[in-house]
Symmetry: C3
Subunit: 276 residues, 3 copies
């Protein structure tokens, strides 16, 4: 009659989605029925809806730092109920990934090393009977994650599968810089690119970039503060790549740029003056 008898999971479980709170709560309820909620770390439920590729980039950045052996449950699933497979993936460091086979998990799986994927089979996972047709996150992925957290081998929950390959776009090197793109726009409107910070030569005080076809010469800043309020600049992001930012403002709005916008580092200096 009384209380949660959920077992203490051996592994941590991270939970990442674009579900918003009400649906995420249903996922957490399923987890709480079989593992101790104290083992669950929520990362976000506000990933860009339907933006699987940006979500894949953000998921990799959010989750790679967790301890080896963690179970990462990720649900950004515009094809829910469609033909995409449900997956569990085992990685080299003992971590496990659970989610839809739409590319979302792939970059994280590669970062964690040597992924082996399994197509989840609902009858092997258990879980509750389905209420609608639109919520694998609650009815399939959450029970699978709870089992993995308790130490069940992913091979017992499904059959070997070849996951959909998606890789975060790689930048290309040029003589004096490189060609890349915006892979994430954060909540401040900072444009996170895939161009490694290391491609900016040491000692530079300005960088020449082209963002969404706009040529710009920008200060290469060591901090948001040093940009100064309202000034455009570039700096090293906490993703290890170049970001374009506006001091206390939104670079995405200023430059009308979004995910996928081309970014070129280097090349001929623009004629337009700094910060115009």
């Amino acid at each position: 009659m009384v209380a949660a008898r959920a077992r203490r999971a051996r592994r941590l479980v991270t939970l990442t989605s674009d579900l918003g709170a009400p649906y995420a709560a249903q996922v957490k309820a399923v987890l709480a029925r079989s593992i101790d909620p104290a083992r669950v770390v929520e990362l976000t439920h506000d990933l860009p809806a339907h933006g699987v590729h940006e979500a894949a980039f953000v998921l990799r950045a959010m989750a790679t730092g967790f301890p080896a052996g963690t179970v990462h449950l990720a649900i950004v699933d515009p094809g829910v109920g469609g033909r995409r497979a449900p997956l569990a993936i085992a990685c080299a460091d003992g971590s496990r990934l659970v989610g839809p086979d739409n590319g979302l998990l792939y970059p994280l799986a590669e970062a964690l090393g040597r992924p082996r994927a399994f197509r989840l089979e609902p009858e092997r996972v258990g879980g509750s009977p389905r209420v609608g047709t639109t919520f694998d996150g609650r009815d399939l992925f959450a029970p699978a994650a709870a089992r993995l957290a308790r130490g069940v081998d992913p091979a017992r929950l499904g059959t070997p599968a070849a996951p959909t390959v998606y890789r975060v776009p790689k930048p290309s090197r040029t003589n004096d810089g490189g060609n890349g793109e915006v892979v994430h726009v954060d909540r401040f409107g900072n444009l996170i690119t895939n161009l490694p910070t290391a491609w900016v030569p040491a000692g530079r005080r300005t960088v020449t970039v082209r963002v969404a076809r706009r040529p710009l010469r920008l200060p290469w800043a060591s901090s948001y503060e040093s940009l100064g309020r309202g000034r455009l600049g570039a700096l090293g992001s906490s993703f290890g790549t170049i970001e374009v930012a506006v001091g206390e403002g939104s670079a995405a709005r200023r430059l009308r740029a979004r995910v996928g916008a081309r970014v070129t580092l280097g090349g001929r200096r623009p004629d337009v003056p700094l910060n115009r």
Copy 2:
């Protein structure tokens, strides 16, 4: 001098509100003073402000899946400080509910079975002295929930009371469908109705619905993906009811519909073509 000596609660506590983070933090601080924060599961602090009836629907959907015996603390309380009673409710499965007597708790209490309600009496609950006049969530409900989590009988915290009855509107059956309404608009703008998915005959590929007086013939979709980007359609929601959605878009915006909008399933086929 050192550290939290909060006891491990026997029960889980869920926490749901429209408070936003700063006020919610004050509630969590009160809980942390007497129970282990590891026992607290936050569901959301962003329920529609002042939307008690939509919140009651969402709360029921979020909380019913938690283990028997869980304490559900819910704070959506436009009448805080007014005449509405503070309540604790004991349910058939051993769960307890704590919150204002404004209908918010009622649907969940009925779903968990045989509710017995008690009007909380501040002097029996303990808790800290009140700072202002506007925050029962922190000063009354949180201390009550912490006590219930540690196993205190709700009858010891107040006197038997008859709670305000609020029921999520029930749809009515017709020959070829039913009459219902929108009971929740989720963060994607999907219109969640109270019409059971089971009322759509098996094998149907389209459904005829009327939303906020607009007659529509819509594809009956098995997934958001199969809707196709920008296309209106209907599908089974994860609440077990029919929802009207736009592929990667907002049905609420497209149809200018919100909570309370009438929805009719079945009836004469509209003359307007599909998806206009």
Copy 3:
């Protein structure tokens, strides 16, 4: 190979920032590598970006209620990578604060009593090597907080320092009221002032206030409900100070007021009628 071996921290850790979820996840990952995530209580990651002074007020209100000995990790840091010092602060009740030396921590430190501050030295804190130049939250503050949670003395992580003093503005008393200002606008648009609720004489049914130069005579309400929908009024906030609110609406929008707007209590009665 398997699972998190993070130790159970002796102290609770609260986590407050303006980072948004993706960067906050990286902070949580670092914490999870050395302490049990069950000891971490997230307060918010949506503090006003770049609004250090409002954040300092909100942080104090959110965090003061936690048990003695708690470690409060707070990251609102527009000057990250700049010259501001990284701090750990020990307080009279055994609590510890970690974050940037920009005034953010000061009001909380004073509220917890007898602050002794230390400038964190990265080589003493350990932590992972830095990826970019912009994320002390992950690379310095989180490892420091984890160590403090496990009982390490703050004096071992840095050298004594004199922190930047910032105090939430104090109101001044007048014959029939006082002069203050808006120190926080909450998510409902309620204007939270620094004028103590106690300065409104007992038994008053209206108050005369001037908000951002607009003279107003407002009902002194005991609840939002009693304001009535769309009506301006004043009431005692859950911060212990006077707040100006609109029933089920936004006072910030109605009065075009924001943080820093002057608020006068008392003075000559305005000629304009109530609620115009």
